[in-house]
């Protein structure tokens, strides 16, 4: 209990190494009952490794994990009754149909035949897969596979759900549909632990977010709290011709109230505590024969916070992900 909230997942100082790699390096966090908790981090940050330890598929080298006050390391099987798991790739049986897969997964939780068939039909309906119910899972499209995998994860009405990158590698429409379903589950009271690399997704869905980088949690807070410090910050991005590096000093002298950052050749980022007048900046550059192509105001978002706190360039993270998402 903390602030009157029950703790669904309690993690204390867990570490996990593979050979030389410290995949998870002493992390602590609590997930409260009914909360949608996001785990946000780049490739190889340790998100999947953490989920595996929380669900009993991996043993931490040290530390403690409690799920609904049950020691997850000692009694993984007791915990597995309470939790639903949606792994990062769709590992259902390719030779079974969608319906058979769901019924089989339900049977693993001891659900009776009649009940599991009713539940499977209900889920196929919710996930818009009724037409594909009798087709083999192996022939499903990536989005359909994803949906059925999530359906299989919630077949036994788990009170705690683990979702490992639920929307990676599927199209915008299906992703939106999945997010809606996730929000619905959350509204109905399911505690959800979600990993993602989509900052926007985390911002839109999650109550609280943990930033994880290289096996360490850098920050945990609610979305409003995370954004608070940069709310009053004004940011402008200017895209222009190359040649600004040597002008940085002059700009700083000319605009002392602004913070000038050269992100890369031809991309300028300007931060200030007051609204930024665009005209003088552009005039300054054009007077020095630098063509300005674009000037855009950047709204304070979680993305900004993430860059601030982790120092990771978002673009590089996104690109990496899109590639890996495309193949998995």
């Amino acid at each position: 209990m903390k602030n009157g909230k029950h703790t669904a997942i309690k993690v204390r100082k867990i570490t996990k190494s593979f050979d030389q790699v410290k995949a998870v390096n002493g992390i602590d966090f609590d997930v409260y009952t009914g909360e949608l908790f996001g785990f946000l981090g780049p490739n190889g940050a340790g998100k999947t490794t953490t989920i595996n330890m929380l669900t009993g598929l991996a043993r931490p080298d040290s530390g403690n994990i409690y799920v609904n006050d049950i020691d997850c390391i000692r009694n993984p099987k007791t915990v597995q009754h309470l939790i639903g798991i949606v792994p990062d790739d769709s590992n259902l049986y390719p030779e079974l149909s969608g319906f058979q897969n769901l019924c089989f997964c339900a049977s693993l939780y001891g659900i009776k035949k009649i009940e599991r068939e009713v539940r499977a039909r209900e889920l196929l309906e919710i996930f818009d897969l009724v037409k594909a119910a009798d087709r083999k899972f192996g022939g499903y499209s990536k989005g359909m596979k994803r949906k059925l995998t999530i359906a299989a994860g919630i077949i036994h009405h788990p009170s705690i759900l683990f979702l490992d990158e639920p929307t990676t590698g599927i199209d915008v429409m299906s992703a939106r549909q999945l997010r809606l379903i996730i929000s619905e589950l959350h509204k109905k009271g399911t505690t959800i632990f979600l990993t993602t690399h989509y900052i926007e997704e985390a911002e839109r869905l999650c109550d609280r977010i943990a930033f994880i980088v290289s096996g360490k949690i850098i920050r945990i807070d609610s979305v409003p709290n995370l954004i608070q410090p940069i709310k009053s910050r004004h940011t402008l991005k200017i895209i222009c011709a190359p040649g600004i590096t040597k002008l940085k000093k002059a700009m700083e002298d000319n605009f002392p109230s602004m913070k000038i950052i050269i992100q890369e050749e031809g991309v300028l980022r300007i931060e200030a505590s007051k609204p930024i007048p665009v005209g003088p900046l552009i005039r300054f550059l054009e007077d020095r024969h630098i063509d300005v192509f674009e000037a855009l105001r950047i709204k304070p978002s979680l993305e900004e916070v993430f860059v601030d706190i982790t120092g990771i360039k978002i673009d590089s993270m996104k690109n990496e992900k899109e590639k890996s998402g495309g193949t998995s």
Partner: protein, 245 residues
């Protein structure tokens, strides 16, 4: 009850998706047929000899039928990650592994009847001691399934499982007294024979069919049960160590 539902459905799914598939049925039926045919032809027209090779053929049919299946139901499923789903289900690991192996055991037992039925056309089977034969078949099926399981969880790739199981299976044909007695082996091979579980199963079959066993039935049963337990728990230990990271 819940655990039983899970057990039963895992077994049922494996039967539907693997055992009853044409390639496996053919493996299960044609393979023993081929063994049987090959040995019967080789033994010439001498009807007496059919009986003398029957124990060996029965043992081989079970051994090859069971061990080859585990590389599919276990190694293949681990490889495509659907096995993780089973590991994540709230079923005790012991029950899960029994569910994954029961199908192969049943399959092996059914396999053993192929040579028996064939032989029944040629020779009089009335003298066979069925009360020894049946337990022998069951124990051989269990022990070779668990040997297959042990191999399946010790490797990472399906082809490794197949190679590795041949490494065990083919020497067993010669070392376990299937077709010629262990006493005729060179002295330095004999200790190895007694370390292989099939030796005891084959001896029981020889006793049941030919009335010629060199070890008492009781001891054979105890040793086979010991091998079953040992292989099963070693496999469980490997799963815990290697698959639950």
């Amino acid at each position: 009850m819940k655990t039983f539902t899970a057990f039963w459905n895992i077994l049922k799914k494996d039967f539907k998706t693997y055992y009853l598939k044409p390639p496996n049925i053919s493996w299960g039926i044609i393979f023993p047929l081929a063994w049987t045919g090959m040995f019967f032809i080789k033994s010439g027209n001498n009807i007496e000899s059919v009986q003398s090779i029957l124990p060996g053929v029965v043992a081989l049919s079970i051994l090859f039928g069971t061990t080859s299946l585990l590389s599919v139901t276990v190694t293949f499923e681990k490889k495509n990650r659907s096995f993780d789903r089973l590991l994540l289900a709230p079923i005790p690991l012991e029950v899960l592994m029994l569910a994954k192996t029961s199908g192969a055991i049943i399959f092996g037992i059914i396999n053993s009847f192929v040579p028996i039925i064939m032989a029944a056309f040629f020779i009089d089977m009335s003298h066979v001691a069925w009360f020894v034969f049946i337990p022998a078949v069951i124990l051989i099926a269990v022990v070779s399934t668990f040997l297959g399981l042990f191999i399946a969880v010790a490797v990472n790739e399906v082809f490794e499982a197949q190679t590795f199981s041949n490494f065990f299976r083919f020497p067993m044909i010669f070392l376990c007294g299937l077709f010629f007695p262990i006493s005729s082996l060179p002295f330095f091979l004999k200790p190895i024979s007694y370390l292989l579980p099939l030796t005891y199963g084959a001896d029981m079959l020889h006793g049941a069919i030919l009335g010629k066993n060199s070890i008492s039935v009781g001891i054979n049963i105890i040793v086979l049960l010991f091998f079953c337990t040992l292989l099963f728990f070693l496999s469980l230990r490997n799963v815990r160590k290697k698959w639950i990271l």
